[in-house]
């Protein structure tokens, strides 16, 4: 698996890592029982603080997507629920595609659409966090 963390997106690196592991499990790139690299190995590979990797693994364990086995490492456990997300994601993409098509017909430029999406996502993320 390859992970790519971007320090300047305004989102904590551990959250980015969590999302990418989750995404990999949803798309089947990571399968049930697969082992993730050790904290030290992944931290060195990504050149991020080991605390970033540790926090992501720990939170993913809480979510039930990872199982941390003492001294052995982190293993993926994909339940049926995770699998069904694959369909949800595909469905969401189709809806977004339709929406973008419509906005283009309304005369909006791609750059404007992108900015609007980003502003709404940031706004939504902040509103959710405050709750």
């Amino acid at each position: 698996m390859f992970y790519k963390l971007t320090p300047t997106t305004g989102q904590p690196l551990y959250l980015q890592l969590m999302q990418q592991v989750r995404h990999a499990a949803e798309t089947g790139a990571l399968r049930d029982g697969d082992q993730l690299p050790g904290i030290r190995t992944l931290a060195e590979e990504l050149v991020v603080s080991p605390n970033t990797v540790a926090k992501a693994y720990c939170e993913l364990e809480h979510e039930g997507l990872l199982e941390l086995r003492q001294g052995l490492g982190a293993f993926v456990c994909v339940k049926r629920r995770t699998r069904s997300l694959e369909n949800d994601v595909n469905l969401a993409r189709r809806r977004i595609r339709d929406l973008i098509e419509q906005l283009r017909e309304d005369g909006l430029l791609d750059a404007e659409i992108r900015r609007a999406f980003e502003a709404e996502l940031l706004y939504a993320a902040e509103a959710v966090r405050k709750r």
């Binding site: 320090p7 030290r40 060195e44 603080s49 970033t52 502003a119």
Partner: protein, 297 residues
Amino acid sequence: MTNEAVILTQGLTKSYGNREAVRALNLSVGRNRITAFLGRNGAGKSTTIKVLLGMVRATAGGGTVLGKQITDKKANLDTRRRVAYVAEDKPLYGYMTVEQTISFARSFYSDWRTNVERQLLRDYELPTRQKIKQLSKGMRTKLALLLAFARRPELLILDEPSDGLDPVGIENLLQTLVAQSADGVTVFFSSHQIAEVERVADHVCILEKGGLVVDAPLDELRQSYRRIDLVFPFPAPEREFRISGVERIRTSGHQMSVLASRNAEALVERAHCLNAVSVEVAPVGLREIFLETVKEN
């Protein structure tokens, strides 16, 4: 991860004549974390580090490093054995060769790791037989780093460790820092390489004119700092946006740009209420946070 502080100062002050290089500094560095110490040239970073290590005496205030008072001479010796330090000017004996320098340093420390020494010697491609005075700046830095990394300290203090290194050298250095941190070493380092700091640091302290202007986990800065660009159908109502968390406002006619360290959500709400025709929210990188906070002062 514990929250115990390995470095803790209260009202630490160091004056040179009338000039206060460090001004009533309250610094707290957490164990098992990578903490970056940023600031402009002359902000007081190196002086702070030297006072912490007992190399320079504080004018007022005090503190502890690894639980020992920094003003206590005897305790200081013990501290120096548990701390590895790379100085800003990388002082080394010019007449010694690289090889001699390494074996000289090795003889002083019981925590020396010969396997790490060999590994770094290969990674850094240091010319073992060359005299120190013939080394380039980057090579000197690499040798100074090797002398610190070959030990197994509890705390690693680095003053400008990337000085003179090329991009490959910097990447190498950061990987070593990460590996040290994974081994349980607490890292405290000063740097001007903000893009690099932004990747590896857990916590950021920004020093300006001898005092801290930012002291926060990097994730917190990432999540709370926002730039909000607004356009109104009338001249921008700047006064309406002077609420807590707003660090800076720039206005130009109907346009307004707000830098917020928190409360971004409330600002967006307010903009919508005031009929803004365009509201754009963007994250703010560490470089911008740094420039804005040191410019302000």
